[in-house]
Amino acid sequence: VSDAGVDRAGIHPGAEVAQTASGFEVVLEAWAPALLRLAWRFTRDGEEARDLVQHALADAWERRQGLRDAQAAGPWLRRILVNRAVNLHRRRRVWRSVQSLWGAEETMTQPAPDAQLDQARQARALHQAVAALPARQAAAITLRYFEGLPVAEVAHALGVDVGTARVHLYRALKKLRPPPGPWEER
């Protein structure tokens, strides 16, 4: 999500834009594609990503009085979406824990050590590794590396200070440390 999205949509950045219902609707719809892309990075599933964005749009509509500046709409919307994504991630982790207690956890096939992994398998393995992280660490990694945001914006999206965001990233990287060679499914 970048502020350029607003400019491309031709929306005049002013406080009055977001304060009227139609103006706010235009702002939301301008940012919806970027939000959908971010949601997909979190979920890796088209339907779930659309669900996440729908919830975020409805949340944003209900809290629209909190948006003072239309230029800040992007980070503001992203923060709402990230909140939703973090909650979803937490619920999934709990569900996976319950499943593992019942022995219903999906088991990964262990590839041969010297197997050449293609890009899709690497991506899937990376996503599974990120999904196994605590919610905020996973969100920090997604925002920093997949979305390409600087640490300060990662912190804003997570609603934490920059130092805390750095700690999340540091801990996540330590857990995600790839083995030598290609990233293998673990």
């Binding site: 919806a32 990075r41 659309r50 964005v53 600087p150 990233l169 330590k174 440390r177």
Partner: protein
């Protein structure tokens, strides 16, 4: 540079300053973090997202309304169920009639009657009921019904 400063430089992702590069050469922990950061950047750069239909605000709000209606309906049903249960528990019950102990008062005479019937000495006339069974013998009236038919014999003259 200290490890903390180098970690900050690594996580920011900018080109590392000369001092950080020198630090990496002698610090295995920071070097490992730097490797992980570079690997993540390389892998994340290969991720492509599919093109998906973008949800619009109207459908999002309609969905939210449907969810809220369902939520309110569920809450209403739950409240009604709780209220009904509370009403059933706390409502005054219809007055129960006072316990009639007359049955207990009549029991001793009844028992005495039965007892009298069963424990009396059997007389010769009781055995007249034997053809009707042993029970008939025991249920025979205490007074001999044949008494009234017993002819009164005239007194013998001396």
């Amino acid at each position: 540079m200290r490890c903390r400063d180098v970690e900050r430089e690594i996580l920011e992702g900018a080109a590392l300053p000369e001092a950080a590069v020198e630090h990496l050469a002698g610090c295995a922990a920071c070097r490992t973090l730097n490797d992980a950061h570079r690997a993540m950047q390389a892998l994340a750069g290969t991720q492509r997202h599919p093109s998906l239909p973008v949800p619009d605000l109207a459908s999002a709000l309609a969905r939210r309304r449907r969810t809220q209606v369902k939520l309110w309906a569920a809450m209403g049903a739950a409240t009604a169920a709780v209220a009904l249960a509370a009403w059933v528990v706390t409502s005054p019950r219809p007055a129960q009639p006072a316990e009639d102990d007359s049955a207990w008062q009549t029991l001793p005479p009844l028992l005495a009657f039965v007892d009298g019937m069963l424990e009396r000495e059997l007389g010769p006339t009781d055995f007249a009921y034997r053809p009707f069974g042993e029970l008939a013998v025991w249920l025979a009236p205490t007074e001999d019904p044949l008494d009234e038919f017993t002819p009164t014999l005239p007194e013998e003259e001396p």
